[in-house]
């Protein structure tokens, strides 16, 4: 499967990454809800790259198995990394504050989610959304 790569350095690149995912999802016939879910998830994570890292990349790929089609989005960045991933993934109320990374919500939007981070190096997030046919 062909892979699409998008550089993320500035605000406009966030929109480009999200739009690219949106177009890909529509192209392969994702439902409206699935399209919106993976698009919003991509936007949230890509925005973290612009806010907190030096630069990053989004890689988009179509996945297929016997029963379904999916989109894999991997976003990696060169940046400070996340000190406490478990804490970053905790759902919090607005009164108790969040780390502002949008990770808990993004994880709920997709079917598969993984994150790796190294302090002083950067972070890689992998997301997969499947559209059940």
């Amino acid at each position: 499967m062909q892979t699409q790569k998008i550089v993320i350095e500035k605000e406009e690149d966030v929109s480009l990454a999200a739009l690219s995912v949106h177009i890909l999802a529509e192209k392969i016939g994702f439902s409206v809800i699935a399209t919106s879910a993976i698009t919003t998830a991509t936007s949230e994570i890509a925005r973290n790259v612009v806010k907190y890292a030096t630069r990053g990349w989004a890689t988009l790929k179509i996945l297929k198995d016997e029963f379904r089609t999916g989109i894999e989005v991997v976003i990696l960045d060169i940046g400070p990394g996340i000190a406490d991933i478990d804490n970053a993934l905790k759902d919090r109320t607005s009164t108790s504050g969040t780390l502002g990374l949008g990770l808990p919500g993004t994880k709920r939007l997709v079917d598969e989610f993984s994150i790796e981070s190294k302090m002083g190096e950067g972070t890689t997030v992998r997301m997969v959304k499947w559209d059940q046919k």
């Binding site: 605000e11 406009e12 966030v14 929109s15 999200a18 739009l19 949106h22 409206v32 809800i33 399209t35 919106s36 879910a37 698009t39 919003t40 998830a41 936007s43 949230e44 925005r47 607005s94 949008g102 808990p104 919500g105 993004t106 709920r108 939007l109």
Partner: protein, 124 residues
């Protein structure tokens, strides 16, 4: 008469203005919209603002915060802001990421939004 500036369209209807949003949203566009809208309200003495989101397919929590700032700025000028046209996909995504939506005043259609704005001004 429709007025357009920097890619933002203002469609006056009665005492209100409709802003049909198209394409993608980013922080720069939201900031431009905020500035232009406040100018528009000042010049045209608008009594209500309707954001029509039906042309928007991509939006995240940060974008929602941007629109909150626009709506709050409009309210500070005494002009209520109403949203219409939010699609099921957008809504599902925004709710899942727990975007701040408490400020959102929604109407099922532009017509209902106009009616709501007219009623509000009749009462005040």
């Amino acid at each position: 008469m429709t007025f357009s500036t920097d890619g933002i369209v203002f469609q006056p209807i009665g005492d209100a203005v409709i802003i049909p949003l198209q394409g993608s949203i980013d922080a720069k566009r939201i900031e431009t919209l905020r500035q232009k809208l406040l100018d528009y309200i000042q010049i045209h003495k608008t009594k209500g603002v309707i954001f029509d989101f039906s042309g928007i397919e991509i939006m995240d929590a940060d974008d929602m915060q941007g629109f909150k700032r626009i709506a709050k700025a409009s309210e500070l000028m005494g002009v209520p802001a109403v949203c219409t046209g939010l699609t099921d996909g957008l809504v599902a995504g925004l709710i899942t990421v727990k975007a701040d939506t408490d400020w959102v005043v929604v109407a099922p259609s532009v017509k209902d939004a106009l009616r709501g704005i007219a009623c509000k001004h009749k009462r005040s």
